[in-house]
Amino acid sequence: MNDFVLQVSQLKKSFGAVQATNNLSLEIKRGEIHALIGPNGAGKTTLIKQLSGELNPDSGSIIFNNKNITAFPMQKRALLGMGRSFQVTSVFRQLTVKENIALAVQAHLGHSFHFWKPAAKEKKLEQATMQALQRCGLQARAEAIATSLSHGELRQLDVGMALAGKPGLLLLDEPMAGMGPGGSLKMTELIQELKGHTSVLLIEHDMQAVFSLADRITVLVYGEAIATGTVEEIQNNPEVQRAYLGDARADA
């Protein structure tokens, strides 16, 4: 195995005349938190959709753990260890918090063509579910129906589900969106704990969080990666300052 968990090369995706992803190449080192920043409309979510398989790129390749997954469907990528959280909270709203997490855990415990045994009584599933609940800090809300959660808790649940499958690479699409300062801090801690063992691609507008969490940052403008580097390098990069931090700060 080489040092990269993900290698994206020359990815292209356009919607009509709009080039949402333009010849994008990106490498994520094993265990690093790699932030993806850029003004609104830079194509960050479009990239995540292509990485997770929701969208197919027009050309280019995606190598995940030395495997070319460019043509793999979503579920196959997930089972290979790619977790994803959503920009707009995407959970099972009519199920309990525990059932939400359990579904995420269950996906990685073999097929689910088990028709007879009550899932709630499966020890292995139950144990792994409780661990995952604890990790995302929602064990006190385990029996609550997801609709009854606060916005911050829903964001925690969304990320918690992505984490429950113990992914090798976690794609986080604005995990702090719409959160208060307390929630952001909690989420920052949660992501901080992943450092070293889970690789993360983090999209976030909260620059404070990005600068404190990221090992490296890639700046995306008009679907193109204009720079990649450490926090310091990015902060001091004149091109980045011009294109993003300078005149587009209002967007952040």
Binding site: A78, W116, L125
Partner: protein, 330 residues
């Protein structure tokens, strides 16, 4: 929502037990009251209840709004009908098989026949979703309706008459009370299977897919396969209901597959409460009782049923069953 047995409220338990006792005691009580025609009427209710429960698996738990469920009901009925027809005529059915009036052969045949057809129709229909899924299931069921209308060898439009009900071991199915209990047993077995199913891993996957299919896929589920298996199981349940109906009426006709018939089963599920399993039993009972009472009074009984259904759907999210049990979720 009923999540597991520990959440099973006393009120729900009392309600279900009352319902079970009512159904168990119905034949002796009606015999004493000299109203034994009710037994046959309630057999019909139980058969529709079985069909409605099977639809609830895909509609209530899987979120698949099918307007073609009657096709599987009709196929099940014809499964019994075909075998009985060749038995009566002493001719060979397909692949050199002879006909039979033995329920132990023809009912499983009807179930497998329906499940296989559901697998085929499902495999094609489930590539779509939402309104397209409704339309395509409707189209398929109409296709089968017209196919059977044109099957002159099996009576075409006029349907097929059975000389008698099937043989089932030493049970005398021609006795309405015996047949009633066979229908009740079939319903209870299917309810039990469905209950286990929706609480199993598989059931969770189905419910998750109803809630949010994209998220299920990003979690690693090949949702299409799970939906297809669920669709086939529901088809099997409807097939059993159809097999019973063929025996109840001693007659099968393409009308069983008509889309309006699918609509009726759908209404039973909505009335009783989607995603409750027991609700559709109640729904079938209320629907058929209303039909019976109102139709005796006016042929435009739908005029009354329509508004009633709208009121129930608007004000009781989990249908009549939800009203009775006081469940609030969903």
């Amino acid at each position: 929502m009923l999540l597991d047995t520990s959440r099973f409220k006393t009120r729900t338990g009392v309600l279900l037990l009352t319902g079970l006792l009512f159904l168990l005691l119905l034949p002796p009580v009606t015999a004493v009251m000299n109203e034994s025609y009710l037994v046959s009427f309630f057999s019909r209710i139980l058969i529709y209840a079985l069909a409605a429960v099977s639809l609830d698996l895909i509609l209530g738990y899987g979120g698949m709004v099918s307007l073609g469920h009657a096709a599987f009901f009709g196929i099940g009925a014809y499964g019994v009908g075909f075998l009985a027809f060749h038995f009566q005529e002493s001719t060979l059915f397909i692949f050199g098989f002879e006909g039979t009036d033995n329920a132990l052969i023809s009912w499983p045949f009807a179930i497998i026949f329906s499940a296989a057809l559901a697998a085929i129709i499902g495999a094609l229909s489930l590539r779509t979703s939402g309104i397209y899924f409704i339309m395509i299931t409707l189209a398929f069921s109409q296709m089968f309706y017209y196919l059977f209308v044109s099957l002159e060898a099996y009576g075409g439009d006029d349907g097929l008459s059975l000389w008698s009900r099937n043989r089932l071991g030493s049970l005398d199915l021609s006795n309405d009370t015996v047949f009633y209990y066979v229908c009740l047993a079939s319903l209870l077995v299917f309810l039990f299977i469905s209950w286990r199913l929706v609480h199993s891993r598989f059931g969770r996957v189905i419910r998750g897919t109803r809630e949010n299919e994209l998220r299920m896929q990003t979690l690693g589920y090949a949702t299409y396969r799970y939906k297809l298996v669920c669709f086939s199981i529901a088809g099997a349940g409807a097939g059993l209901a159809g097999a019973l109906m063929a025996n109840q009426n001693e007659f099968v006709s393409p009308g069983l597959m008509h889309w309006t018939h699918s609509g009726e089963i759908l209404v039973m599920v909505l009335l009783g409460g989607m995603g409750t399993l027991f609700g559709p039993v109640l729904g079938a009972m209320v629907f058929l009782l209303l039909e019976e009472v109102l139709a005796a009074w006016t042929e435009h009984w739908m005029v009354f049923l329509g508004p009633f259904l709208i009121v129930v759907v608007l004000f009781a999210k989990k249908g009549l069953y939800g009203l009775l049990t006081g469940e609030r979720h969903e």
